[in-house]
Symmetry: C2
Subunit: 338 residues, 2 copies
């Protein structure tokens, strides 16, 4: 349990902070392509598995029945910034299901986006559950309950049929046994299940390729992936890593952040899945590592490599815009592919 | 450079994240009372030394000449949340010096306080340099320049007499040589100097006791300490750790946060100074460690011990207020006093 230092934060010429972590890259057969640090102890993937949690929305036919397009499906997989179009999209999802924001049980929080905070403050004064970064996922859960014709009131509880189905999907994709002692409560109150990084990487390789999923699930995975990579702004928001990476690479890269320093992703053309956890929960480090992993495994043109560099080695600027430091992924600590 | 794990973050019954770090506790002679991890490599103390950076404001007579009371002096030592009374206080400091917000060179950022963000959005739409958490420190620097009768335009630059004086004060208190290769730029654009934790702990023992400071400097230190511990809301803001700890203990404890997981403090009655740095820059861990160090070294009544527990072992709640986890300081990793 001594994970390597994967990212250094420099201020001036000195290292100011350090982030340790673990990384698993696997193929769709579950073979390890890269394993750094502890990839076998279960970790909470948090929001990084939202696209897997959204599979029942497509598989049950709920998305089709409600006429959901890419934006709605991307929102179901999103940790969005609470910007106006995110809120409008989630509202549309609920309206199509004959519901409204009162059905959401994710809790309210101010939007992640500072400009969205200002807009909400000017307009209504207080944030609602619609601004919660998980509101699209919750709207998706509600739609599954409606499509199944079951009471949606307790859709977030572990015992509710919707969450039982989500759990079964996660077990199918990850191959991990989700026993009760691995269950905790996520920020938005639904269950989060601790799963080893190597299993998460395998799951995202399957999600990215459809392999071993069965035809229905493979189609649902392809549709969610297409939605996220075609509408990446709906998966996160203005200036966010998930959005900018998927804008850059389109269908070639799927990435999704989770709280406490988690990142999951897929490189469909390479048949690879990726799972990253920073020991200390730092998102800034997890995303720099994800950028470095993409740079390692995705064939890149010069322009793409240049565009990716600012995510692998981001420059830190202060409130006056002065360059004060940078993040440095310890590439030399990334072993060559196994 | 393998600092111990000092804080674990639990979600449900599992450890979700871990924070490593180093801690130095020293007396006013510079003797190590506690040393965990690497306390000799220079680290950037950032805003944790604002009270030391404010010494010239008192020593030069500027504070007296401008009629500054405890609130203004506390603001000069503050990383404030940008709430209305913080902004009003800094404005007052500038007005007394015949200046206004245009003289500040700290840069603008949205207030740390989410409710203050909402208020600013409703009122003026955009934050100003007054909302920058460092605006009180910067106002203090400007007042020193004015008191010295020197041009204040470049007060933030390393070569300006104000910053030269601040550097000399830091060298005097810490006993560390602040060579150019240890200088970087802080978030608010003034220099930040890398200093070993053991020297920072020694400096705060001197700051807390006045020992070895000379009569003028000792008086200035006592006055700033009194201002901060009597007006702790002005040092941070509503719900903030620095504020709540100093409200709880009054003159018995001085604490100050710095960016990237730094905390410094003094226990004047015990003659001790404290300096903490989390490897990964996590403030949540640094403050829990500070609470644990206070619990270790300050004699506590039952009510005080109970009040401190929620800072040593904070409960984590989600957006619905459900208890989802907690922070756990690894007390068993804290050695007994040397």
């Amino acid at each position: 349990m001594n994970n390597p230092i994967l990212v250094e934060v420099l201020r001036g010429s000195l290292v100011e902070s350090r982030h340790r972590g673990a990384v698993a890259v696997a193929d769709a057969d579950g073979a390890a392509v890269l394993a750094m640090g502890d990839v076998t102890t279960p970790i909470f993937p948090r929001s990084a598995v939202k696209a897997l949690q959204a599979l029942p929305l497509v598989e049950t036919g709920a998305a089709d029945a409600l006429g959901f397009g890419d934006e709605e499906l991307a929102l179901a997989c999103a940790s969005h910034s609470g910007e106006a179009e995110h809120v409008a999209g989630v509202t549309r999802m609920l309206t199509k299901a004959g519901l409204d924001a009162a059905a959401l049980r994710c809790g309210a929080h101010w939007p992640m986006s500072q400009s969205a905070v200002a807009m909400v403050a000017r307009a209504t004064g207080e944030p609602s559950a619609l601004h919660n970064n998980c509101s699209g996922k919750h709207a998706g859960f509600l739609c599954v309950a409606c499509a199944k014709g079951i009471d949606h009131a307790d859709y977030w509880r572990p015992q509710h049929p919707v969450q039982r189905e989500v759990r079964a999907v996660l077990e199918d994709l990850t191959g991990a046994a989700l026993s009760e002692d691995r269950r905790a409560i996520d920020g938005c109150s639904v269950p989060t299940w601790a799963i080893p990084l190597q299993n998460l990487a395998h799951a995202f390789a399957k999600f990215g390729t459809g392999r071993d999923l069965g035809p229905e699930r493979a189609r649902a995975a392809a549709r969610l992936r297409a939605a996220c990579t075609q509408k990446p702004w709906h998966v996160a928001g203005t200036g966010r890593f998930c959005t900018e990476i998927m804008q850059l690479f389109g269908a070639r890269v799927f990435v999704k952040t989770g709280a406490e320093g988690v990142y999951c992703g897929a490189l469909p053309e390479q048949g690879l899945g990726i799972a990253i956890k920073c020991d200390d929960g730092a998102g800034r480090a997890a995303q720099a590592i994800m950028a470095a992993i993409i740079a390692r495994f995705l064939p890149l043109g010069d322009a793409e490599r240049a565009a990716l560099t600012r995510f692998v080695h981001p420059i830190l600027r202060n409130w006056n815009g002065f360059e004060v430091g940078s993040l440095r992924v310890m590439d030399r600590n990334l072993p060559p592919p196994l």
